[in-house]
């Protein structure tokens, strides 16, 4: 949905791809770990902001969670092809800015910014 709207507005496809990947990974995290969550997308003249609010267990050690390969996925999630420990690292790789605040037992807020002009190009 976010993707098709941004496409119609004429956002560059490389930026679109980064937004789509970041939004998908964030969505999967909410689906797998949280009770519920909301993804908001804001487009300004210079950037696209994604804000993901969830009600859930929270992330105990954010730094650790950002390390590629680190995962707390259950056997069941792994069976479905998830839990490679690449979710948050993938978001970070595609974002120009990633800010995570988490409160144990309450939930997590992800703020992702992707610049429209320039930016890191996804690396």
């Amino acid at each position: 949905m976010i993707k098709s709207l941004l496409k119609e507005i004429g956002i560059d496809h490389n930026i679109l791809r980064r937004v789509a990947v970041a939004a998908y990974e964030a969505e999967m995290n909410v689906v797998m770990y949280a009770e519920k969550g909301v993804i908001r997308c804001t487009l300004t003249a210079v950037e696209i902001r994604l804000r993901v609010d969830d009600v859930g267990p929270g992330i105990p050690d954010i730094e650790l969670a950002l390390q590629p390969g680190y995962s707390t996925a259950t056997a069941e999630m792994r069976e479905m092809g998830f839990g490679a420990g690449m979710g948050l690292p993938n978001i970070k790789r595609n974002a120009d800015m990633l800010n995570i605040t988490s409160c144990m037992g309450k939930g997590t807020v992800l703020e992702i910014i992707i610049n429209l002009n320039g930016g890191n190009g996804g690396h």
């Binding site: 119609e8 004429g10 789509a20 998908y24 003249a45």
Partner: protein, 421 residues
């Protein structure tokens, strides 16, 4: 081809079109509108998939292919039939008999494409083993899929395997060989693909990955079917090809969905066919979900090329005929890997340049104006009845809303709303 767009292979005959909404409804990229009771194709959007061609009950949507009179321009005429042709004449007729009858129709030479298909399989395998960072790599065989990716999924252009489909490679190789052997200038040789595909003509008249196609045209199987059929009875074909191993079973498989990937060894490969399933899987690729897949074969026609709009035989029967032929000839590799490796290094298979993104135009050139129009569109969607009747001349309410936002239609085009006033 006066009056049509050279870059496209489909036109509407306004004399026969009655302005029903069948083609408009079938179009996956919403490129058709009905205006003044005639279907109009927006060539800016058309990807030549042929869906409109399939559904038109009035034969008003016409494929543009090479005509017999176009063949006369060339001194030496070559036909490269797609393996689909072998599936069109029942189970008793063998490929070599079909090739002989085709030659009899009026060609100096006919060339089996199946072997080149197998060579291309090996070249793709070579590429996949050499390039492991980009996944999934997507097949370049279907000209419609290439155009669909350019338009709807521009970010995926880089995933398209930079290897020409077998028909191009075969033509490139043949022109050189024939020119040398018979001392004919390359320009006097006409090489034609005999195909079930209505989009091949576009990939020949305006190729996306090279300055000029190696082929000179595409002949519709539907068009040439009777001529072959009548000659099949007369031609005494040499029976050399009857025994196992004389034709590439791996190559024959390219006529059906899953055939291109069948011969790839030790790779995670997936085959998809049909417009809606192809769009669905490309959406998943775009979202980054399928990076674990090595190779993705997408063919726009249901069931693969046997399901092409210019085929004659029912596609399920055609597929069964292909499977039988594969069993007859065996599916072991017939091409020497080292030989293909050498041709691969000589760039026989390579694109001249990578597929370039050509995204559909946004709602407006300027982003702020796009957002404004997007808001109009959403407001219109709320007001329109949402029953997608097509009477306004747009395929569905959402598209009418978009046309209104672009200033190309008005709310009062909606017949249902007009009646409620």
């Amino acid at each position: 081809m006066a009056g049509t767009d050279r870059r496209h292979s489909i036109k509407v005959d306004e004399n026969t079109c009655i302005g029903c909404v069948a083609c408009m409804k079938a179009c996956p990229v919403k490129a058709v509108r009905v205006r003044n009771r005639k279907a109009k194709i927006d060539y800016e959007r058309c990807i030549d998939c042929g869906e409109c061609l399939r559904v038109c009950a009035y034969n008003a949507v016409i494929p543009i292919t090479t005509l017999p009179s176009d063949l006369k321009r060339f001194k030496y005429r070559v036909a490269i039939p797609s393996p689909v042709l072998y599936s069109q004449f029942g189970q008793q007729v063998l490929p070599n008999e079909i090739l002989a009858a085709l030659k009899d129709v009026g060609f100096d030479h006919v060339h089996d494409e199946a072997l080149v298909c197998e060579m291309t399989t090996l070249a793709i395998e070579e590429y996949l083993n050499e390039n492991k960072s980009l996944r999934p790599v997507i097949s370049s065989t279907c000209p419609v899929v290439v155009r669909l990716i350019q338009r709807l999924f521009p970010a995926l252009c880089q995933l398209i395997v930079p290897i020409e489909p077998p028909r191009e490679t075969a033509a490139k190789k043949l022109r050189k060989e024939i020119s040398a052997e018979f001392e004919i200038p390359p320009g006097d040789i006409g090489i034609f693909n005999v195909t079930s595909c209505s989009a091949k003509m576009v990939s020949i008249s305006s190729p996306e990955t090279r300055a000029q196609s190696s082929l000179d045209g595409a002949i519709s199987i539907h068009e040439i079917y009777n001529a072959i059929m009548t000659r099949l009875k007369k031609t005494q074909a040499p029976s050399m090809l009857r025994t196992q191993g004389d034709m590439s079973g791996i190559g024959l498989g390219w006529a059906v969905s899953g055939g291109e990937i069948e011969g790839l060894q030790n790779l995670y490969k997936v085959a998809v066919s049909g417009v809606s399933d192809t769009i669905r899987i490309l959406e998943d690729v775009e979202s980054g979900k399928l990076k674990n897949i090595d190779y993705l074969e997408c063919l726009i026609c249901p069931g693969g090329c046997v399901g092409g709009p210019l085929a004659v035989e029912n596609r399920f029967i055609a597929a069964s005929n292909i499977v039988r032929s594969i069993r007859l000839f065996g599916n072991n590799r017939r091409v020497d890997a080292a030989f293909v490796r050498r041709l691969y290094d000589e760039q026989l298979f390579s694109f001249e340049w990578a597929v370039k993104p050509r995204p559909f135009p946004a709602l407006a050139k300027e982003k702020r104006e796009s957002v404004r129009r997007l808001k109009i569109k959403e407001r219109m969607i709320k007001r329109l009845p949402g029953i997608d009747c097509g009477l306004c001349g747009a395929p569905d309410c959402k598209t009418l809303a978009e046309d209104i936002a672009r200033g190309q239609a008005r709310l009062k085009d909606c017949v249902i709303l007009l009646n409620r006033l």
